[in-house]
Protein backbone atom coordinates (compact mmCIF):
# COMPACT_ATOMS: atom_id res chain seq x y z
CA UNK A 1 0.00 0.00 0.00
CA UNK A 2 1.40 3.42 -0.88
CA UNK A 3 1.85 6.14 1.69
CA UNK A 4 -0.67 8.39 -0.04
CA UNK A 5 -3.28 5.62 -0.09
CA UNK A 6 -2.65 4.88 3.57
CA UNK A 7 -3.28 8.49 4.50
CA UNK A 8 -6.27 8.77 2.20
CA UNK A 9 -7.87 5.61 3.54
CA UNK A 10 -7.32 6.63 7.16
CA UNK A 11 -8.66 10.09 6.34
CA UNK A 12 -11.89 8.50 5.18
CA UNK A 13 -12.06 6.60 8.45
CA UNK A 14 -11.54 9.80 10.46
CA UNK A 15 -14.32 11.49 8.52
CA UNK A 16 -16.77 8.63 8.84
CA UNK A 17 -16.38 8.39 12.64
CA UNK A 18 -17.33 12.03 12.82
CA UNK A 19 -18.36 12.55 16.45
CA UNK A 20 -15.47 10.56 17.83
CA UNK A 21 -12.98 12.44 15.64
CA UNK A 22 -14.43 15.83 16.52
CA UNK A 23 -14.14 15.11 20.24
CA UNK A 24 -10.51 14.03 20.06
CA UNK A 25 -9.59 16.93 17.82
CA UNK A 26 -11.35 19.24 20.27
CA UNK A 27 -9.29 17.90 23.17
CA UNK A 28 -6.08 18.36 21.18
CA UNK A 29 -7.21 21.79 20.01
CA UNK A 30 -7.86 23.01 23.55
CA UNK A 31 -4.49 21.71 24.71
CA UNK A 32 -2.53 23.41 21.96
CA UNK A 33 -4.62 26.59 22.26
CA UNK A 34 -3.93 26.63 26.01
CA UNK A 35 -0.19 26.48 25.38
CA UNK A 36 -0.39 29.27 22.81
CA UNK A 37 -2.65 31.60 24.80
CA UNK A 38 -0.97 31.10 28.15
CA UNK A 39 2.49 31.65 26.74
CA UNK A 40 1.19 34.68 24.86
CA UNK A 41 -0.06 35.97 28.20
CA UNK A 42 3.19 35.14 30.00
CA UNK A 43 5.44 36.53 27.31
CA UNK A 44 3.17 39.56 26.93
CA UNK A 45 3.56 40.25 30.64
CA UNK A 46 7.31 39.86 30.32
CA UNK A 47 7.50 42.25 27.39
CA UNK A 48 5.19 44.69 29.17
CA UNK A 49 7.38 44.81 32.27
CA UNK A 50 10.58 45.00 30.24
CA UNK A 51 9.14 47.82 28.14
CA UNK A 52 8.02 49.70 31.21
CA UNK A 53 11.40 49.26 32.74
CA UNK A 54 13.22 50.30 29.59
CA UNK A 55 11.07 53.39 29.27
CA UNK A 56 12.33 54.91 32.51
CA UNK A 57 15.76 55.47 31.01
CA UNK A 58 18.63 54.19 28.93
CA UNK A 59 21.83 52.73 30.35
CA UNK A 60 20.62 53.90 33.71
CA UNK A 61 22.43 53.39 37.00
CA UNK A 62 20.89 54.21 40.35
CA UNK A 63 23.15 55.13 43.25
CA UNK A 64 21.65 54.84 46.71
CA UNK A 65 23.02 55.21 50.21
CA UNK A 66 23.70 52.15 52.30
CA UNK A 67 25.34 48.85 51.53
CA UNK A 68 23.25 46.00 50.16
CA UNK A 69 23.22 43.22 52.76
CA UNK A 70 24.30 40.50 50.36
CA UNK A 71 28.01 41.40 50.41
CA UNK A 72 28.56 41.24 54.18
CA UNK A 73 31.88 39.42 54.22
CA UNK A 74 32.78 40.92 57.62
CA UNK A 75 29.53 41.69 59.37
CA UNK A 76 31.51 42.97 62.38
CA UNK A 77 33.26 45.65 60.32
CA UNK A 78 29.98 47.20 59.31
CA UNK A 79 28.38 46.92 62.70
CA UNK A 80 27.67 50.16 64.51
CA UNK A 81 28.22 52.32 61.47
CA UNK A 82 25.38 54.24 59.96
CA UNK A 83 25.88 54.64 56.25
CA UNK A 84 27.09 57.99 55.16
CA UNK A 85 24.62 60.13 53.26
CA UNK A 86 24.87 60.85 49.57
CA UNK A 87 25.49 64.51 48.95
CA UNK A 88 25.36 66.93 46.07
CA UNK A 89 29.15 66.94 46.12
CA UNK A 90 29.10 63.18 45.51
CA UNK A 91 26.75 63.70 42.59
CA UNK A 92 29.03 66.33 41.07
CA UNK A 93 32.02 63.96 41.42
CA UNK A 94 30.12 61.33 39.44
CA UNK A 95 29.36 63.86 36.74
CA UNK A 96 33.07 64.14 36.03
CA UNK A 97 33.61 60.43 35.39
CA UNK A 98 34.50 59.70 31.75
CA UNK A 99 32.00 56.80 31.54
CA UNK A 100 29.12 59.03 32.60
CA UNK A 101 27.06 60.93 30.06
CA UNK A 102 24.96 62.82 32.62
CA UNK A 103 23.67 62.58 36.13
CA UNK A 104 20.68 63.77 38.12
CA UNK A 105 20.61 64.03 41.92
CA UNK A 106 17.24 63.18 43.34
CA UNK A 107 15.25 64.11 46.41
CA UNK A 108 11.68 62.95 46.82
CA UNK A 109 9.05 64.18 49.23
CA UNK A 110 5.47 65.29 49.70
CA UNK A 111 4.35 68.90 49.88
CA UNK A 112 1.25 71.03 49.58
CA UNK A 113 0.83 72.69 46.21
CA UNK A 114 -1.38 75.76 46.29
CA UNK A 115 -2.47 78.57 44.03
CA UNK A 116 -5.59 80.74 43.83
CA UNK A 117 -7.72 78.85 46.34
CA UNK A 118 -6.62 75.46 45.13
CA UNK A 119 -4.62 73.19 47.35
CA UNK A 120 -3.46 69.60 47.13
CA UNK A 121 -0.78 67.21 48.26
CA UNK A 122 1.75 66.33 45.55
CA UNK A 123 4.91 64.31 45.15
CA UNK A 124 7.90 66.59 44.75
CA UNK A 125 11.03 65.59 42.86
CA UNK A 126 14.10 67.72 43.48
CA UNK A 127 16.72 67.43 40.77
CA UNK A 128 18.63 69.21 38.04
CA UNK A 129 17.88 69.82 34.38
CA UNK A 130 19.24 66.40 33.40
CA UNK A 131 16.45 64.55 35.21
CA UNK A 132 14.10 65.16 32.30
CA UNK A 133 16.27 63.47 29.60
CA UNK A 134 17.64 60.78 31.94
CA UNK A 135 14.17 59.66 32.96
CA UNK A 136 12.85 59.98 29.38
CA UNK A 137 10.32 62.58 30.47
CA UNK A 138 9.02 65.09 27.97
CA UNK A 139 8.08 68.70 28.39
CA UNK A 140 4.92 69.85 26.71
CA UNK A 141 5.74 73.52 27.28
CA UNK A 142 8.55 75.62 28.67
CA UNK A 143 11.73 74.25 30.21
CA UNK A 144 13.50 73.41 33.43
CA UNK A 145 16.68 75.14 34.62
CA UNK A 146 17.59 75.82 31.01
CA UNK A 147 20.44 78.12 31.78
CA UNK A 148 21.85 76.25 34.72
CA UNK A 149 20.37 78.60 37.32
CA UNK A 150 20.12 75.83 39.89
CA UNK A 151 18.96 77.96 42.77
CA UNK A 152 16.13 79.76 41.07
CA UNK A 153 12.66 78.88 42.27
CA UNK A 154 11.47 77.19 39.12
CA UNK A 155 8.85 74.48 39.10
CA UNK A 156 7.71 72.00 36.42
CA UNK A 157 4.16 70.73 36.78
CA UNK A 158 2.80 67.34 35.77
CA UNK A 159 0.27 67.70 32.95
CA UNK A 160 -2.73 66.94 35.12
CA UNK A 161 -1.66 69.38 37.83
CA UNK A 162 -1.18 72.07 35.19
CA UNK A 163 -4.70 71.66 33.87
CA UNK A 164 -6.11 71.36 37.38
CA UNK A 165 -4.51 74.55 38.66
CA UNK A 166 -4.62 76.58 35.46
CA UNK A 167 -7.55 75.24 33.50
CA UNK A 168 -8.09 78.39 31.49
CA UNK A 169 -4.65 79.92 30.99
CA UNK A 170 -1.22 78.63 30.14
CA UNK A 171 0.61 77.57 33.29
CA UNK A 172 3.94 78.94 32.10
CA UNK A 173 4.97 82.02 34.07
CA UNK A 174 2.28 81.55 36.70
CA UNK A 175 3.07 81.74 40.36
CA UNK A 176 2.40 78.77 42.59
CA UNK A 177 3.27 77.80 46.16
CA UNK A 178 4.82 74.69 47.65
CA UNK A 179 4.42 74.70 51.44
CA UNK A 180 4.19 78.51 51.32
CA UNK A 181 7.37 78.88 49.26
CA UNK A 182 6.86 80.66 46.03
CA UNK A 183 7.74 79.15 42.69
CA UNK A 184 7.45 80.26 39.11
CA UNK A 185 6.07 77.66 36.69
CA UNK A 186 8.78 77.20 34.03
CA UNK A 187 7.50 74.08 32.29
CA UNK A 188 4.71 71.55 32.01
CA UNK A 189 5.34 67.83 31.48
CA UNK A 190 3.75 66.08 28.54
CA UNK A 191 1.08 63.61 29.64
CA UNK A 192 2.72 60.22 30.13
CA UNK A 193 0.45 58.26 32.39
CA UNK A 194 1.79 55.66 34.75
CA UNK A 195 5.23 54.19 34.42
CA UNK A 196 6.35 51.71 37.02
CA UNK A 197 3.46 52.65 39.26
CA UNK A 198 4.27 56.38 39.38
CA UNK A 199 1.89 58.77 37.79
CA UNK A 200 4.15 61.40 36.29
CA UNK A 201 1.11 63.50 35.46
CA UNK A 202 0.69 64.34 39.14
CA UNK A 203 4.23 65.25 40.22
CA UNK A 204 6.15 68.48 40.38
CA UNK A 205 9.85 68.98 39.76
CA UNK A 206 11.91 71.67 41.45
CA UNK A 207 15.67 72.35 41.65
CA UNK A 208 17.40 69.97 44.07
CA UNK A 209 18.69 72.81 46.33
CA UNK A 210 15.14 74.07 46.66
CA UNK A 211 13.96 70.59 47.54
CA UNK A 212 16.70 70.13 50.14
CA UNK A 213 15.76 73.35 51.84
CA UNK A 214 12.04 72.55 51.51
CA UNK A 215 12.55 69.17 53.20
CA UNK A 216 15.27 70.50 55.47
CA UNK A 217 17.95 67.99 54.49
CA UNK A 218 21.47 67.99 53.07
CA UNK A 219 21.44 64.45 51.80
CA UNK A 220 20.18 62.95 48.56
CA UNK A 221 17.66 60.15 48.14
CA UNK A 222 19.26 58.82 44.95
CA UNK A 223 21.66 59.79 42.23
CA UNK A 224 20.56 58.77 38.74
CA UNK A 225 23.43 58.26 36.32
CA UNK A 226 23.29 57.62 32.62
CA UNK A 227 26.30 55.77 31.22
CA UNK A 228 27.71 56.82 27.87
CA UNK A 229 26.87 53.52 26.23
CA UNK A 230 25.65 50.07 27.05
CA UNK A 231 29.25 48.86 27.26
CA UNK A 232 30.06 51.67 29.67
CA UNK A 233 27.51 50.52 32.27
CA UNK A 234 29.76 48.08 34.13
CA UNK A 235 32.88 50.32 34.02
CA UNK A 236 30.69 53.21 35.17
CA UNK A 237 29.46 51.12 38.10
CA UNK A 238 33.05 50.28 39.08
CA UNK A 239 34.11 53.90 38.73
CA UNK A 240 31.16 55.15 40.80
CA UNK A 241 31.89 52.68 43.58
CA UNK A 242 35.56 53.63 43.55
CA UNK A 243 34.92 57.37 43.47
CA UNK A 244 32.38 57.33 46.28
CA UNK A 245 34.57 55.00 48.36
CA UNK A 246 37.34 57.60 48.18
CA UNK A 247 35.00 60.45 48.91
CA UNK A 248 33.56 58.50 51.86
CA UNK A 249 36.95 57.92 53.53
CA UNK A 250 37.40 54.44 52.09
CA UNK A 251 34.04 53.09 53.21
CA UNK A 252 31.99 51.17 50.69
CA UNK A 253 28.70 52.45 51.99
CA UNK A 254 26.69 52.92 48.84
CA UNK A 255 24.88 50.61 46.46
CA UNK A 256 24.74 50.89 42.69
CA UNK A 257 22.06 49.04 40.83
CA UNK A 258 21.91 49.03 37.06
CA UNK A 259 18.72 49.14 35.06
CA UNK A 260 20.28 46.44 32.95
CA UNK A 261 20.64 44.00 35.82
CA UNK A 262 17.10 44.59 37.06
CA UNK A 263 15.78 44.23 33.55
CA UNK A 264 17.66 40.98 33.13
CA UNK A 265 16.27 39.70 36.43
CA UNK A 266 12.69 40.55 35.52
CA UNK A 267 13.23 39.09 32.11
CA UNK A 268 14.53 35.86 33.61
CA UNK A 269 11.78 35.53 36.20
CA UNK A 270 8.96 36.21 33.78
CA UNK A 271 10.49 33.99 31.16
CA UNK A 272 10.66 31.17 33.69
CA UNK A 273 7.06 31.86 34.59
CA UNK A 274 6.05 31.64 30.92
CA UNK A 275 7.90 28.35 30.63
CA UNK A 276 6.17 26.99 33.71
CA UNK A 277 2.76 28.02 32.40
CA UNK A 278 3.56 26.41 29.04
CA UNK A 279 4.54 23.24 30.86
CA UNK A 280 1.28 23.17 32.78
CA UNK A 281 -0.68 23.70 29.58
CA UNK A 282 1.31 20.94 27.92
CA UNK A 283 -0.01 18.53 30.54
CA UNK A 284 -3.45 18.95 28.98
CA UNK A 285 -1.86 17.81 25.73
CA UNK A 286 -0.59 14.67 27.41
CA UNK A 287 -4.11 14.09 28.67
CA UNK A 288 -5.37 14.55 25.11
CA UNK A 289 -2.74 12.04 24.02
CA UNK A 290 -4.07 9.51 26.48
CA UNK A 291 -7.52 10.18 25.11
CA UNK A 292 -6.26 9.47 21.61
CA UNK A 293 -4.76 6.21 22.81
CA UNK A 294 -7.98 5.19 24.50
CA UNK A 295 -10.11 6.02 21.49
CA UNK A 296 -7.71 4.23 19.14
CA UNK A 297 -7.82 1.14 21.34
CA UNK A 298 -11.60 1.22 21.19
CA UNK A 299 -11.35 1.64 17.42
CA UNK A 300 -9.16 -1.45 17.13
CA UNK A 301 -11.73 -3.35 19.13
CA UNK A 302 -14.60 -2.04 17.05
CA UNK A 303 -12.91 -2.79 13.76
CA UNK A 304 -11.47 -6.17 14.65
CA UNK A 305 -13.34 -8.05 11.96
CA UNK A 306 -12.37 -5.38 9.43
CA UNK A 307 -8.72 -5.86 10.39
CA UNK A 308 -9.19 -9.60 9.86
CA UNK A 309 -10.63 -8.91 6.43
CA UNK A 310 -7.71 -6.65 5.51
CA UNK A 311 -5.35 -9.44 6.49
CA UNK A 312 -7.34 -11.97 4.48
CA UNK A 313 -7.12 -9.89 1.33
CA UNK A 314 -3.38 -9.57 1.81
CA UNK A 315 -2.57 -6.58 3.98
CA UNK A 316 0.73 -7.22 5.81
CA UNK A 317 0.90 -6.32 9.51
CA UNK A 318 2.99 -3.27 8.63
CA UNK A 319 0.19 -1.80 6.49
CA UNK A 320 -2.36 -2.26 9.24
CA UNK A 321 -0.03 -0.72 11.79
CA UNK A 322 0.47 2.27 9.56
CA UNK A 323 -3.24 2.69 8.89
CA UNK A 324 -3.94 3.21 12.58
CA UNK A 325 -0.85 5.31 12.97
CA UNK A 326 -1.99 7.53 10.10
CA UNK A 327 -5.42 7.84 11.67
CA UNK A 328 -3.87 9.14 14.89
CA UNK A 329 -1.70 11.46 12.84
CA UNK A 330 -4.75 12.99 11.18
CA UNK A 331 -6.43 13.51 14.53
CA UNK A 332 -3.45 15.09 16.23
CA UNK A 333 -2.43 17.13 13.20
CA UNK A 334 -5.93 18.55 12.91
CA UNK A 335 -5.93 19.20 16.67
CA UNK A 336 -2.55 20.92 16.48
CA UNK A 337 -3.58 23.07 13.51
CA UNK A 338 -6.94 24.11 14.97
CA UNK A 339 -5.35 24.61 18.37
CA UNK A 340 -2.72 26.89 16.89
CA UNK A 341 -5.39 28.92 15.11
CA UNK A 342 -7.60 29.08 18.19
CA UNK A 343 -4.57 30.07 20.27
CA UNK A 344 -3.72 32.86 17.86
CA UNK A 345 -7.32 34.00 17.95
CA UNK A 346 -7.25 33.95 21.76
CA UNK A 347 -4.04 35.98 21.79
CA UNK A 348 -5.62 38.47 19.41
CA UNK A 349 -8.59 38.81 21.77
CA UNK A 350 -6.21 39.38 24.67
CA UNK A 351 -4.48 42.13 22.72
CA UNK A 352 -7.83 43.71 21.87
CA UNK A 353 -9.04 43.60 25.47
CA UNK A 354 -5.68 44.70 26.95
CA UNK A 355 -4.06 46.92 24.33
CA UNK A 356 -1.05 47.56 26.60
CA UNK A 357 -0.21 43.88 26.74
CA UNK A 358 1.86 42.64 23.78
CA UNK A 359 0.27 39.18 24.02
CA UNK A 360 1.99 37.39 21.16
CA UNK A 361 2.75 33.73 21.68
CA UNK A 362 6.51 33.27 21.27
CA UNK A 363 7.45 31.08 18.30
CA UNK A 364 9.09 28.49 20.53
CA UNK A 365 5.83 28.00 22.42
CA UNK A 366 3.74 27.52 19.30
CA UNK A 367 6.30 25.13 17.89
CA UNK A 368 6.56 23.26 21.18
CA UNK A 369 2.76 23.04 21.52
CA UNK A 370 2.35 21.67 18.02
CA UNK A 371 5.28 19.29 18.41
CA UNK A 372 4.01 17.93 21.72
CA UNK A 373 0.55 17.43 20.19
CA UNK A 374 1.96 15.51 17.23
CA UNK A 375 4.35 13.57 19.42
CA UNK A 376 1.73 12.49 21.92
CA UNK A 377 -0.56 11.57 19.02
CA UNK A 378 2.17 9.40 17.51
CA UNK A 379 3.14 7.84 20.82
CA UNK A 380 -0.48 7.24 21.72
CA UNK A 381 -1.07 5.37 18.47
CA UNK A 382 1.85 2.97 18.86
CA UNK A 383 0.13 0.65 21.30
CA UNK A 384 -3.23 0.44 19.44
CA UNK A 385 -1.54 0.15 16.04
CA UNK A 386 0.63 -2.70 17.26
CA UNK A 387 -2.36 -4.39 18.81
CA UNK A 388 -4.20 -4.18 15.49
CA UNK A 389 -1.22 -5.44 13.51
CA UNK A 390 -0.74 -8.42 15.81
CA UNK A 391 -4.36 -9.60 15.75
CA UNK A 392 -4.83 -13.19 14.71
CA UNK A 393 -6.54 -13.04 11.32
CA UNK A 394 -8.88 -15.99 11.81
CA UNK A 395 -10.03 -14.90 15.24
CA UNK A 396 -10.41 -11.30 14.06
CA UNK A 397 -12.61 -12.44 11.17
CA UNK A 398 -14.83 -14.51 13.43
CA UNK A 399 -15.53 -11.59 15.74
CA UNK A 400 -18.91 -9.85 15.92
Amino acid sequence: MTLADTFFLSFKTVVSYRLRSVLIILAMTLGVAAVVVLTALGDGARKYVVNQFSSIGTNLLVVMPGRAETTGAFPGAVLGQTPRDLTLKDAQLLGRLPQVRRYAPLNVGEAELSASNRLREVTVLGSNAELIPIRHMKLAQGGFLKHGADYSAQIVLGSQLASEFFPLTSAIGQRIRLNERRFLVSGVLAPQGKTMGHNTDEIVIIPVEQAQSLFNTTSLFRILVEAKSHDAIEPAKEAILETLKQSHDGEEDITVITQDAILATFDRILHALTLAVAGIAAISLIVAGILVMNVMLVAVNQRTSEIGLLKAIGAPAADIRFLFFAEAMWLSTAGAAFGFLLGQLGSLMLRLVYPDLPAWAPAWASIAGITVALLTGILASILPANKAARLDAVQALSKK
Partner: protein
Protein backbone atom coordinates in the same frame (compact mmCIF):
# COMPACT_ATOMS: atom_id res chain seq x y z
CA UNK B 1 -1.08 -26.63 -7.17
CA UNK B 2 -1.87 -27.10 -3.50
CA UNK B 3 -0.01 -29.88 -1.68
CA UNK B 4 -0.68 -30.51 2.00
CA UNK B 5 1.40 -33.13 3.76
CA UNK B 6 0.45 -34.29 7.25
CA UNK B 7 -1.03 -30.89 8.11
CA UNK B 8 -2.08 -30.68 11.75
CA UNK B 9 -3.78 -27.84 13.57
CA UNK B 10 -4.32 -28.16 17.30
CA UNK B 11 -6.39 -25.81 19.47
CA UNK B 12 -5.91 -25.88 23.19
CA UNK B 13 -8.97 -25.43 25.35
CA UNK B 14 -7.64 -25.46 28.87
CA UNK B 15 -6.30 -28.97 29.44
CA UNK B 16 -7.91 -30.29 26.28
CA UNK B 17 -6.24 -30.42 22.87
CA UNK B 18 -8.60 -30.26 19.90
CA UNK B 19 -7.24 -31.61 16.64
CA UNK B 20 -9.05 -29.28 14.20
CA UNK B 21 -6.90 -30.83 11.48
CA UNK B 22 -5.37 -34.23 12.13
CA UNK B 23 -2.52 -35.13 9.76
CA UNK B 24 -4.25 -34.08 6.57
CA UNK B 25 -2.73 -35.13 3.24
CA UNK B 26 -4.31 -33.39 0.28
CA UNK B 27 -3.44 -32.42 -3.26
CA UNK B 28 -5.52 -30.00 -5.31
CA UNK B 29 -4.59 -29.35 -8.93
CA UNK B 30 -4.89 -25.95 -10.58
CA UNK B 31 -8.38 -25.37 -11.93
CA UNK B 32 -10.10 -27.99 -9.77
CA UNK B 33 -13.56 -27.40 -8.28
CA UNK B 34 -13.62 -28.86 -4.78
CA UNK B 35 -16.39 -28.93 -2.18
CA UNK B 36 -15.38 -29.39 1.45
CA UNK B 37 -18.22 -30.89 3.46
CA UNK B 38 -18.74 -32.36 6.85
CA UNK B 39 -20.53 -31.70 10.12
CA UNK B 40 -20.08 -28.54 12.09
CA UNK B 41 -16.75 -28.48 13.92
CA UNK B 42 -15.15 -31.03 11.64
CA UNK B 43 -12.36 -28.64 10.59
CA UNK B 44 -13.66 -27.33 7.25
CA UNK B 45 -12.98 -23.66 7.98
CA UNK B 46 -9.63 -24.43 9.55
CA UNK B 47 -8.60 -26.36 6.44
CA UNK B 48 -9.65 -23.48 4.21
CA UNK B 49 -7.81 -20.98 6.39
CA UNK B 50 -4.62 -23.04 6.29
CA UNK B 51 -4.88 -23.32 2.51
CA UNK B 52 -5.40 -19.56 2.33
CA UNK B 53 -2.40 -18.88 4.61
CA UNK B 54 -4.65 -17.18 7.16
CA UNK B 55 -3.88 -19.86 9.74
CA UNK B 56 -0.58 -21.54 10.48
CA UNK B 57 -0.56 -25.30 10.89
CA UNK B 58 1.15 -26.64 13.99
CA UNK B 59 2.71 -29.44 12.02
CA UNK B 60 3.09 -30.67 8.46
CA UNK B 61 4.15 -28.91 5.30
CA UNK B 62 2.29 -26.93 2.69
CA UNK B 63 3.59 -26.46 -0.82
CA UNK B 64 1.87 -23.96 -3.07
CA UNK B 65 2.81 -24.02 -6.75
CA UNK B 66 5.86 -26.10 -5.86
CA UNK B 67 7.16 -23.80 -3.13
CA UNK B 68 6.98 -24.51 0.57
CA UNK B 69 5.02 -21.64 2.11
CA UNK B 70 4.74 -22.82 5.71
CA UNK B 71 7.88 -21.02 6.90
CA UNK B 72 7.52 -17.82 4.90
CA UNK B 73 7.52 -14.53 6.77
CA UNK B 74 4.29 -12.78 7.65
CA UNK B 75 4.81 -10.18 4.90
CA UNK B 76 5.58 -12.85 2.28
CA UNK B 77 2.47 -14.79 3.22
CA UNK B 78 0.43 -11.60 2.98
CA UNK B 79 1.79 -11.08 -0.50
CA UNK B 80 0.71 -14.57 -1.55
CA UNK B 81 -2.78 -13.93 -0.15
CA UNK B 82 -2.87 -10.69 -2.08
CA UNK B 83 -1.77 -12.13 -5.40
CA UNK B 84 -2.89 -15.74 -5.51
CA UNK B 85 -5.86 -16.14 -3.21
CA UNK B 86 -9.34 -14.69 -3.05
CA UNK B 87 -11.44 -15.23 0.05
CA UNK B 88 -15.24 -15.26 0.15
CA UNK B 89 -16.91 -15.47 3.56
CA UNK B 90 -20.31 -16.44 4.82
CA UNK B 91 -20.81 -13.00 6.39
CA UNK B 92 -19.45 -11.10 3.37
CA UNK B 93 -17.03 -9.00 5.45
CA UNK B 94 -17.51 -5.76 3.59
CA UNK B 95 -16.18 -2.57 5.19
CA UNK B 96 -19.37 -0.74 6.19
CA UNK B 97 -17.91 2.76 5.72
CA UNK B 98 -16.86 2.13 2.14
CA UNK B 99 -19.02 2.00 -0.97
CA UNK B 100 -19.32 -1.13 -3.08
CA UNK B 101 -16.75 0.24 -5.51
CA UNK B 102 -14.36 1.14 -2.70
CA UNK B 103 -14.71 -2.31 -1.14
CA UNK B 104 -13.89 -3.91 -4.46
CA UNK B 105 -10.94 -1.54 -4.85
CA UNK B 106 -9.33 -2.47 -1.49
CA UNK B 107 -7.08 -5.33 -2.77
CA UNK B 108 -5.81 -3.08 -5.56
CA UNK B 109 -4.97 -0.38 -3.01
CA UNK B 110 -3.12 -2.92 -0.89
CA UNK B 111 -1.08 -3.98 -3.90
CA UNK B 112 -0.03 -0.36 -4.50
CA UNK B 113 -1.63 0.03 -7.91
CA UNK B 114 -1.94 3.56 -9.30
CA UNK B 115 -5.33 5.23 -8.84
CA UNK B 116 -6.11 5.60 -12.53
CA UNK B 117 -5.61 1.92 -13.26
CA UNK B 118 -7.55 0.99 -10.14
CA UNK B 119 -10.54 2.96 -11.34
CA UNK B 120 -10.44 1.25 -14.69
CA UNK B 121 -10.28 -2.23 -13.21
CA UNK B 122 -12.95 -1.52 -10.61
CA UNK B 123 -15.30 -0.26 -13.32
CA UNK B 124 -14.66 -3.33 -15.45
CA UNK B 125 -15.29 -5.60 -12.49
CA UNK B 126 -18.46 -3.75 -11.47
CA UNK B 127 -19.77 -4.25 -14.98
CA UNK B 128 -18.79 -7.91 -15.08
CA UNK B 129 -20.67 -8.53 -11.82
CA UNK B 130 -23.63 -6.44 -12.89
CA UNK B 131 -23.05 -4.01 -10.00
CA UNK B 132 -22.45 -0.78 -11.92
CA UNK B 133 -25.63 0.83 -10.65
CA UNK B 134 -24.69 -0.10 -7.06
CA UNK B 135 -21.15 1.26 -7.22
CA UNK B 136 -21.76 4.18 -4.87
CA UNK B 137 -23.92 2.25 -2.39
CA UNK B 138 -22.75 1.26 1.04
CA UNK B 139 -23.10 -2.35 2.13
CA UNK B 140 -26.05 -1.44 4.35
CA UNK B 141 -27.90 -0.30 1.22
CA UNK B 142 -27.38 -3.61 -0.58
CA UNK B 143 -29.27 -6.90 -0.45
CA UNK B 144 -27.53 -10.04 0.80
CA UNK B 145 -27.03 -11.35 -2.71
CA UNK B 146 -25.61 -8.03 -3.84
CA UNK B 147 -23.28 -7.94 -0.87
CA UNK B 148 -21.95 -11.37 -1.66
CA UNK B 149 -21.51 -10.35 -5.29
CA UNK B 150 -19.45 -7.36 -4.13
CA UNK B 151 -17.40 -9.70 -1.94
CA UNK B 152 -16.81 -12.08 -4.83
CA UNK B 153 -15.88 -9.19 -7.08
CA UNK B 154 -13.37 -8.09 -4.45
CA UNK B 155 -11.99 -11.65 -4.22
CA UNK B 156 -11.44 -11.85 -7.96
CA UNK B 157 -10.20 -8.39 -8.85
CA UNK B 158 -6.58 -9.41 -8.31
CA UNK B 159 -7.15 -12.41 -10.62
CA UNK B 160 -6.13 -15.00 -8.03
CA UNK B 161 -5.30 -18.59 -8.91
CA UNK B 162 -7.63 -19.90 -6.22
CA UNK B 163 -10.92 -18.74 -4.75
CA UNK B 164 -11.63 -19.99 -1.24
CA UNK B 165 -15.27 -19.67 -0.21
CA UNK B 166 -16.33 -20.53 3.35
CA UNK B 167 -20.07 -21.25 3.28
CA UNK B 168 -20.68 -18.42 0.80
CA UNK B 169 -24.40 -19.14 0.69
CA UNK B 170 -24.86 -19.64 4.42
CA UNK B 171 -26.52 -16.27 4.93
CA UNK B 172 -28.54 -16.29 1.70
CA UNK B 173 -31.89 -17.63 0.54
CA UNK B 174 -31.65 -20.84 -1.43
CA UNK B 175 -32.43 -19.20 -4.76
CA UNK B 176 -29.90 -16.37 -4.24
CA UNK B 177 -27.42 -18.95 -2.98
CA UNK B 178 -27.67 -20.87 -6.22
CA UNK B 179 -27.05 -17.66 -8.15
CA UNK B 180 -23.96 -16.91 -6.08
CA UNK B 181 -22.65 -20.44 -6.60
CA UNK B 182 -23.26 -20.05 -10.32
CA UNK B 183 -21.21 -16.85 -10.24
CA UNK B 184 -18.33 -18.70 -8.56
CA UNK B 185 -18.65 -21.51 -11.08
CA UNK B 186 -18.31 -18.97 -13.88
CA UNK B 187 -14.97 -17.98 -12.40
CA UNK B 188 -13.99 -21.63 -12.25
CA UNK B 189 -14.84 -21.86 -15.95
CA UNK B 190 -12.10 -19.30 -16.64
CA UNK B 191 -9.53 -21.57 -14.99
CA UNK B 192 -9.53 -20.46 -11.38
CA UNK B 193 -9.24 -23.12 -8.70
CA UNK B 194 -12.46 -23.08 -6.68
CA UNK B 195 -12.71 -24.49 -3.17
CA UNK B 196 -16.08 -24.15 -1.46
CA UNK B 197 -16.96 -25.10 2.10
CA UNK B 198 -20.61 -26.00 2.35
CA UNK B 199 -22.92 -28.33 4.18
CA UNK B 200 -25.59 -28.04 1.53
CA UNK B 201 -25.39 -31.45 -0.19
CA UNK B 202 -27.04 -30.15 -3.35
CA UNK B 203 -24.46 -27.38 -3.75
CA UNK B 204 -21.66 -29.75 -2.81
CA UNK B 205 -22.67 -32.17 -5.50
CA UNK B 206 -22.18 -29.51 -8.16
CA UNK B 207 -18.43 -29.63 -7.47
CA UNK B 208 -16.19 -32.05 -9.34
CA UNK B 209 -14.66 -33.33 -6.15
CA UNK B 210 -16.10 -33.75 -2.68
CA UNK B 211 -14.05 -33.95 0.50
CA UNK B 212 -15.87 -35.27 3.57
CA UNK B 213 -14.28 -34.16 6.84
CA UNK B 214 -14.90 -35.52 10.32
CA UNK B 215 -12.92 -34.70 13.44
CA UNK B 216 -10.13 -33.09 11.46
CA UNK B 217 -9.67 -36.03 9.12
CA UNK B 218 -10.62 -36.53 5.50
CA UNK B 219 -13.08 -39.44 5.57
CA UNK B 220 -13.84 -39.62 1.84
CA UNK B 221 -12.39 -37.92 -1.23
CA UNK B 222 -14.77 -38.43 -4.13
CA UNK B 223 -14.27 -37.29 -7.69
CA UNK B 224 -17.26 -37.11 -9.98
Amino acid sequence: MIELTSITRIFHMGEQSIYALNHIDLEIQDGEYVAIMGPSGSGKSTLLNVIGLLDKPDDGSYRLDGKTVTDLSEAEQAQIRREKIGFVFQSFHLVPRLTAAENIELPLILSGLAAAERKQRVNDTLRAFDLSDRAAHRPSELSGGQRQRVAIARATIMQPTAILADEPTGNLDHQIGVEVIALLENLHQTGTTLIVVTHDRELGDRAHRQLMLRDGKIMTDKKT
